[in-house]
Symmetry: C2
Subunit: 211 residues, 2 copies
DNA sequence: TCATGCTCGATAGTGTAACTATCGATAGTT
DNA sequence: AACTATCGATAGTTACACTATCGAGCATGA
């Protein structure tokens, strides 16, 4: 129905596309050429567009993430894993470089912070890869994990888990985890940008105020 | 030359493509069909690939960022701006929604943290957009900026500026800003993932260790 | 010296992702 | 019955990031 289009703001051809790709479940068929869509479909479309437009996920990845949200009895840790895995470039994990300097730095930071994390955490490889990239570029002043990064990440993660703890409904938790992980990265990045400007002003105070 | 390809690991056709697109300056012509490339070209290629592959920038955006790095006398704040603007989806700024709830939350957070930031900071709109998205999804428990996010962002930004302060060479600073901004987002995101798992374990301690 | 083989720049083609448009068969509406 | 709208299937489009081909020009070795 085109009412669904109207209610959600998503063009009809795109809705059809998402139906084809399995992101959106089809509604209840009332006759051979009529299908009824509910409010849940409108919400689902909003979620889809949020993951794709704001979160920047490719359509296929969004599909995988939504499938995880839909599975009612997956453990929370697994949902976290899917969300995290989804936003790391999936093919990142094909180029399996063994232990590198970056890996060592990550391990050392985890140790120093007293974190308990499994070896499979996608963040490990992601962080190691970036540190290795810094090193390959010869940017040694960046090829480390500053204390501020680790502490900042922990503060942010505590806030994340606090948001998850506001509900006890499993389905709700799953959605908060997915949305909060996918869009949260962007929020953190934006705040980092704002804080950078502030700190930069603080350090390199403008000439007038310096004299 | 294909020595450049060998030295950098980038296939010849791609090098040609980057030359065409202006990401890579052409070398010194020694005859009508011979061009000499230097070590600087190899480093430039590494930088290009880092921005594209690891940082996830589109080629055109990488070009704009590199142009900013190449301009020797742009103020640091401008370089920050370019780097930040580059990784926010550029067309984000076309859909100019006026003041929204998200904008108010961002302003309020900036106030509360005592940050001094211009109105044009790209992070403002980026953060506001995400908060608005949370609200539209009905995820009210996420549609706020927790204290932990703001404090975490400031810690991270301080570490960022500390890295910039390791040099006084303007060109070097520009490159640190760009690389640190573009790749740093990924590093922060990865650390967030790691910390999330740790905090999650801490809160929902597994049954065995709880007894 | 001149054939072979590399280089250069220009142009055109490929593959993928995300839509978008068209079509024919219905099915409710007037 | 005529008209309009819907459904699913298939095909086409656009943008991006390469990738392949081509013709001309040296450049070196038999």
């Amino acid at each position: 129905m085109s009412q669904l289009c109207e209610a959600s703001g998503v063009p009809v051809p795109s809705i059809k596309y998402y139906l084809r790709e399995g992101l959106l479940p089809s509604g209840e068929r009332t006759s051979a050429n009529q299908v009824d869509y509910s409010d849940a479909h409108v919400e689902r479309l909003h979620l889809i567009r949020a993951l794709i437009d704001v979160g920047g996920l490719p359509v296929a990845t969004a599909g995988r993430v939504l499938a995880a949200v839909d599975s009612p009895d997956l453990p929370l840790s697994y949902i976290f894993g899917v969300a995290q895995y989804a936003i790391s470039d999936a093919d990142l994990y094909d180029e399996l470089e063994g232990p590198s300097d970056g890996t060592a730095i990550v391990d050392e930071t985890i140790e120093r912070m007293g974190w308990k994390v499994t070896d499979e955490n996608p963040g490990r490889r992601g962080a190691a890869r970036i540190l290795d990239t810094y090193a390959r570029l010869g940017r040694d002043e960046l090829a480390a994990i500053p204390e501020g990064y680790a502490k900042g990440a922990e503060l942010i993660a505590r806030a994340d888990l606090a948001a998850v703890a506001t509900t006890s409904d499993v389905r709700d938790m799953a959605e908060i985890v997915v949305v909060g992980t996918v869009l949260g990265d962007g929020l953190v990045a934006s705040l980092r940008r704002i804080a950078q400007e502030h700190v930069s002003n603080e350090m390199f105070a403008n000439p007038r105020s310096e004299s």
